[in-house]
Amino acid sequence: MALLQINDLIVLYGEIEALRGVSLSVDEGQVVTLLGANGAGKSTTLRAISGLARPAAGEILFDGHSIAGLGPEAIVRLGISHVPEGRRIFPGLSVKENIMLGGSNRRASKAELSREADAMFDLFPDIRPFTNALGWTLSGGQLQMVAVARGLMAKPRLLLLDEPSLGLAPVIVQAVFRIISEIRRNTTVLLVEQNARMGLSVADHGYVLETGRIVLGGKPDELWGNEAIAAAYLGGHAKVSA
């Protein structure tokens, strides 16, 4: 049984059908990447899973139990942590405070949270110098690491990562993706990325979304070689080099 199973999901934004019947599954221990051009519905899929968006129809099953329609506070308590697009670090709080707040989905004392946050810095040594720096002073790459660290503090079984490479220079993107490869040892990851190459480089399985529907699915190599992927992004006129 898959850890996360989505069947025929339909999500509306006002009247627009942002997702027109999406089906996908994520097995425990996998890294699954969801690709697609802008506006394809990738973020909407994650928002539906984490409870920020209410599905109009379809099923979302986590560990066999339906979670569609639950609120975000309940879902994070069940073990799904969503690191949203744009990082959204609390600008007026320090890096460590941001990370500690990631443990808000469970009962833990301030001392425990502090210890766990310190442990996080081992995983993300690049941000240790910024422990007490306020959120708004950090660069994009640093923010991304803080966001992921904060997301992991929830001790999730499933981590939803939304466009971690957004707005980051290639070198930083590599650093972020190196961390994703580390995380996968203990956490199942559903990764949404516009950057197809990076997204597929860490994945066990991939899906391609186009205007609210899954149009391709398979192993990274298969997808990368498939010309349809270029069409999904560039309208069928580009060619992808092998």
């Binding site: 516009q194 205007t211 560039l234 992808v240």
Partner: protein, 592 residues
């Protein structure tokens, strides 16, 4: 989505030739009847006072219906303006023995200036800051009334206030006030359909879009405040003459709240609502006279009513009615399709209709747009694309004046618009639609497009309502929605709302049309129709600059593409070539 219907039957077009006054004759007849009744029926003194209060308060509340209802700006100082007018008449006639009419007009002018001054604070402030400024203004005026004893007699108030010779008796004065009420009511009623009225409603519904379609938002707000203040002052002057005595406690913040409640109860956006609200809130306490015997109970109930009205009946009694009758009104007065839409974009400067040089926009340390050059050649479709976060939307916002450029120049058909606010760019010929659709939601499709047609500098439209309506109908018909011109925006699907927005931009006869993700949210057949529409627009010679993510649409519709990534331009040229360019492919799909 319906196909373009240029062959629409010439349906009934009512009300064209009759002059305005004749059309509204029923109103004037009704008003005359009321005035006659007021003059002849023998009321006892108590009832007379109540009617006087109701009449003058209603005029003040009409003022609120303009600034708050029509323009959406909060004004908690209406009692101060009321007081200015009252004291002008009071002090003028009682202390200085100046003629009543002179004082009345003087009071109105003072109130007007004060209102305009208050309105000018909207340049920097909105929302709760504005509320605070108006409250402060109110409190300062009250303080001055109480403490400037040599002028205002302080807490003692002013008595022996005079009346005009013509209306000395209480009865005739009441009739006079009713006449004024009818006159003001007429003006306020029809203000909504004038150019200024439309501008106010646009500012209320969507301030950003209002600026972009050419409305001078600041001037509109100042006018709204000034108008509200004048009506308050007029009402106050009439009030003073009616009761012959005024004192500061009648013009306190609490009274401003009373006016506010009256306007909310009836329905803030309409004079009918104001009249209903005022009437009810003056008459009900009279029937429940015991309420006034316990000090505070009366106002406590006012306070509670405000909360309840806001929660359960935000559009007031009349607004409630209106919602129910809305559908009936939409069917009325189907209009003729108008002549085929003509677009004659200005062509002053050379080959390029838009030249952007070295454009940069920094947000603190973040370089959202970094020294971008774009040259849009006249005619045809030019696309601006780039992955998420590339700076396209920021660029578009800088082009339309919503953000100020950090560096660089924007030249539209030879005119440097870099420093211009949005409404001036519209006047210079820039048209734009929004990704998240910014239509004026309280208005019909036609009214939205008329506002577009009204942009200053539009050479293709004559003067007067008929010319505007004709132009608007042409634009609506061009996008295929002419038959639904009188429906409210909320009844249209997302795709159709997008078309109305495009019609609004076209009606203005722009020199360059900026389309911000027009395909977002459309299904494939809608996208095909959008493509057709773009072709028809381009066929008339109007240049289009489009941002979109749908590469199929972009590659088929656009002849020329500029690509941004990380705020910089990475490719620019003929569409097919650009989409095959290795830098562009790796920007979208990722690189090693």
């Amino acid at each position: 989505m319906s196909a373009p219907s240029e062959n629409m039957p010439m349906a009934v077009s009512a009300a064209r030739a009759k002059p305005l006054l004749l059309r509204h004759l029923p109103y004037f007849i009704g008003a005359a009847v009321l005035v006659a009744l007021a003059a002849t029926i023998q009321f006892d003194g108590y009832i007379l006072n109540i009617l006087m209060e109701a009449t003058t308060f209603a005029i003040a509340v009409f003022g609120l219906s303009v600034v708050l209802g029509l323009c959406g700006q909060i004004n908690l100082a209406q009692a101060a303006f009321f007081g200015l007018g009252a004291y002008a008449v009071g002090i003028g006639t009682s202390d200085y023995h100046v003629s009543y009419w002179f004082c009345l007009v003087g009071g109105c002018i003072i109130a007007l200036l004060a209102g305009a001054l208050l309105g000018m604070s909207t340049l920097r402030l909105g929302g709760h800051y504005l509320a605070m400024v108006t409250i402060s203004f109110q409190q300062i005026v009250t303080l001055v009334m109480i403490n400037t004893i040599w002028l205002t007699h302080g807490p003692d108030g002013v008595s022996n206030i005079g009346r005009p010779a013509l209306f000395q008796s209480a009865q005739s004065y009441l009739a006079f006030c009713v006449g004024m009420l009818a006159l003001v009511g007429y003006v306020v009623w029809h203000l909504s359909d004038t150019r200024l009225g439309r501008a106010m409603r646009a500012v209320r519904d969507n301030e950003l879009a209002a600026g972009v379609v050419g409305i001078d938002v600041f001037r509109t707000k100042v006018s709204a405040f000034a108008l509200s203040a004048v009506l308050g002052g007029l009402a106050g002057g009439l009030f003073a003459g009616g009761f012959a005595y005024v004192s500061p406690d009648q013009f306190s913040f609490a009274e401003s709240v009373v006016f506010l409640t009256m306007s909310l109860l009836g329905g803030v956006a309409s004079p009918i609502g104001s009249a209903i609200g005022t009437g009810l809130l003056i008459l009900i306490p009279e029937w429940l006279r015991f309420l006034k015997s316990v000090p505070g109970l009366y106002l406590a109930i006012y306070g509670l009513s405000v909360i309840l009205i806001i929660r359960y009946m935000p559009d007031g009694i009349w607004g409630f009615f209106n919602l129910a009758t809305g559908r009936w009104r939409a069917k009325a007065k189907l209009r003729g399709a108008g002549p085929a839409l003509r677009l004659a974009p200005a062509a002053v400067a050379g080959d390029n209709v838009l030249e952007v040089k070295g454009l940069s926009k920094h947000f603190g340390g973040l370089k959202a747009v970094d020294e971008v050059d774009i040259a849009v050649r006249r005619g045809g479709v030019h696309a601006l694309i780039g992955p998420n976060g590339s700076g396209k939307t920021t660029t578009l916002n800088v082009l339309s004046g919503l953000y100020k450029a950090t560096a660089g120049k924007v030249v539209l058909d030879g005119t440097d618009v870099t420093e211009m606010p949005p409404h001036q760019r519209a006047a210079a010929g820039l048209g734009r639609t929004f990704q998240n659709i910014r239509l004026f939601r309280s208005m019909t499709a036609l009214e939205n497009v008329v506002i577009g047609a009204e942009r200053p500098g539009n050479a293709l439209v004559g003067h007067g309502e008929d010319a505007l309506n004709e132009r608007a109908m042409s634009a609506l018909t061009f996008v295929g929605l002419g038959s639904r011109a009188n429906e409210l925006i909320s009844s249209f699907s997302y795709g159709h709302q997008r078309l109305i927005e495009i019609a609004r931009a076209l009606a203005a006869n722009p020199t360059l049309l900026l389309l911000d993700e027009p395909a977002a949210g459309l299904n494939s057949s809608e996208k095909l129709e959008l493509h057709e529409l773009l072709k028809r627009i381009a066929a008339q010679g109007l240049t289009i600059l489009i941002i979109d993510h749908d590469m199929t649409l972009v590659s088929e519709a656009a002849q020329h593409i500029t690509v941004l990534n990380f705020g910089r331009r990475i490719a620019d040229g003929e569409s097919m070539a650009v989409l095959r360019h290795p830098d562009v492919v790796s920007a979208y799909l990722g690189s090693d």
